[in-house]
């Protein structure tokens, strides 16, 4: 495998729901060890893009390669094997509310029968410590946690199996600015610690600047601009300019009828 094979390579992805075309030919690469953040307005299809990569949705057209391997046409068990090397932090946390926190964190390890329950609990406690939560949190249930703590537990679960790729779906949405910054720091720290590549989506520019090596902007189903974080302020693209300054006036017209 050539050294320049990207970790994730998306080409010409198309996905629509009924008559609504959400992705219309999306191309994006994530290099090995790189952290790419996709920005874009609400409802532009950022989550749909992630779900296509994770195999939770099937695009009508296009290709997704992971480590140079086409994953869209894989058999289910091969796909499961690929997913073992991925971690995902969902927008709403998506913690299993019937299980205590530690079992949530160790879920992937237990599911893959990599370890027994006592050992899984130890690993869970150490992952919780990595995201700044004490061992007593492990025995609580997700419903007993605040939003920020749920995000941290979600993060601990995403990194528990030492993934090669981590996905973050709006990690800071719904948090206060300080907690958002704490989560950003944790994302940077933990991805570095496990040495993973990261693909994140957000509409929070502070978060994007902090966690990205490279930023890409999704608009009308395509990536319309991408470049290093440092370039974002002089991108020379009026869509990007309007978005990062949060102006109502500009080329991006908010769809009033969705």
């Amino acid at each position: 495998m050539a050294d320049d094979t990207p970790k994730i390579r998306m080409r010409d992805l198309h996905k629509s729901f009924g008559t609504k075309q959400v992705l219309r030919g999306l191309d994006l690469d994530v290099g090995v060890g790189e952290s790419v953040v996709v920005i874009g307005g609400s409802g532009t299809g950022k989550s749909v893009m992630l779900k296509c990569v994770l195999g939770l949705m099937r695009p009508e057209q296009g290709s997704v390669e992971i480590d140079g391997q086409e994953v869209l046409t894989m058999a289910a068990d091969e796909r499961e094997e690929v997913n073992r090397h991925m971690g995902m932090l969902f927008q709403g946390g998506a913690l299993f509310d019937s299980l205590p926190v530690w079992e949530n964190v160790a879920f992937g390890l237990l599911a893959q029968k990599r370890v027994g329950r006592p050992e899984a609990k130890e690993i869970a406690v150490s992952k919780l410590a990595q995201v700044g939560l004490g061992p007593e949190v492990g025995d609580l249930f997700p419903a007993e946690l605040s939003g920020g703590m749920q995000k941290r537990v979600g993060l601990a679960r995403a990194i528990a199996a030492d993934p090669d790729i981590i996905f973050f779906d709006e990690p800071t949405t719904g948090l206060d600015p300080i907690m958002a910054d704490v989560i950003n720091d944790l994302i940077v720290k933990t991805t570095r610690e496990v040495g993973a590549s990261a693909l994140s989506i957000t509409h929070d520019m502070a978060s994007a600047r902090k966690i990205a090596n490279r930023i890409a902007m999704l608009y009308e189903g395509r990536i319309i601009w991408q470049g290093p974080v440092a370039d974002i302020d002089h991108a020379g693209n009026e869509y990007v300019d309007q978005f990062i300054h949060g102006r109502a006036e500009g080329p991006i017209k908010m769809a009033v009828r969705a």
């Binding site: 994770l54 195999g55 939770l56 499961e80 997913n83 998506a94 299993f96 599911a111």
Partner: protein
């Protein structure tokens, strides 16, 4: 022209649902017989579906048995055929009322809670999260519930049979003045293995229907809290209707030669 359009649409919708449901059912059974198995979850579901349904099933059964004895007494007294009460009670309970009433009661209890639980997991992305943690949601969520339903429904119905017959006995002996040992003797003499067995087969089928409907509607729910509410209603209504349909079909298979 205009009248054909809605009919066609309903018909197509029906075909689509039937197709999706068959695929779902086939998929669940395929997953249920292949590892990995989840014994902890199966056990927990068995307790939920079986043990915690005992009060509602027991109450239903005892009143059904009591009413049956009372009704058949007022009817049969006209023909001086009061002796047949024990017979009527035991046959009706084991063949029909045990499985159907227990099935309908548990459809309300379990069908609704399965649809709500799995539907909430769907709309809060917990089902997606399972997939990303290399766990197949059909195997982890649906198959254990189906297995628990198939096993626990017959157990519940067996208990309902005993309690129902006991209800009939109470009314016959304490209200209608029957001789206890003759009543029990009558019950026992009339009862055939086929009556109980057919009821247990029905129970297993109903257990499959209730758990599959609950899981199917929950699994395919969309659109937030409202969608989960709709899934819950659909699960209970479709399970109840299917129970009654399959009751007829199974009765026809068992008892008409």
């Amino acid at each position: 022209m205009n009248i054909l359009q809605p009919i066609g649409r309903v018909f197509l919708g029906f075909l689509r649902t039937t197709g999706r449901l068959s695929l779902f059912t086939g998929g669940v059974f395929a997953h249920a017989v292949r590892p990995p198995f989840y014994p902890r979850i199966i056990l927990r579901q068995m307790i939920d579906i079986g043990y915690f349904s005992l009060p509602v099933v027991g109450l239903t059964a005892i009143f059904a048995g009591m009413v049956l004895a009372l009704q058949s007494y007022t009817g049969f007294a006209r023909f001086s055929a009061e002796g047949a009460i024990a017979n009527v009670v035991v046959i009706s309970i084991t063949r029909e009322l045990g499985p159907v009433l227990a099935g309908l009661m548990v459809a309300g209890r379990i069908g609704a809670s399965l649809a709500a639980e799995i539907g909430t997991m769907r709309v809060t992305e917990q089902i997606d999260a399972l997939t990303t943690l290399s766990t197949n949601p059909m195997k982890y969520l649906v198959a254990p519930r189906l297995i628990a339903g198939l096993v626990m429904f017959p157990c519940l119905v067996l208990i309902a049979d005993v309690i129902g017959v006991f209800g009939g006995y109470l009314v016959a002996v304490y209200k209608l003045g029957f001789n206890p040992s003759i009543y029990l003797q009558n019950t026992y003499d009339f009862l055939q293995a086929e009556d109980v067995n057919s009821g247990l087969v029905k129970a297993a089928v109903f257990g499959g229907i209730v758990t599959l409907m609950g899981c199917y509607h929950g699994y395919h729910s969309q659109g937030g809290a409202q969608g989960v509410g709709r899934a819950t209603t659909n699960a209970v209504v479709s399970a109840s209707i299917l129970i009654l349909c399959f009751d007829y079909i199974l009765t026809a298979l068992f008892f008409t030669q």
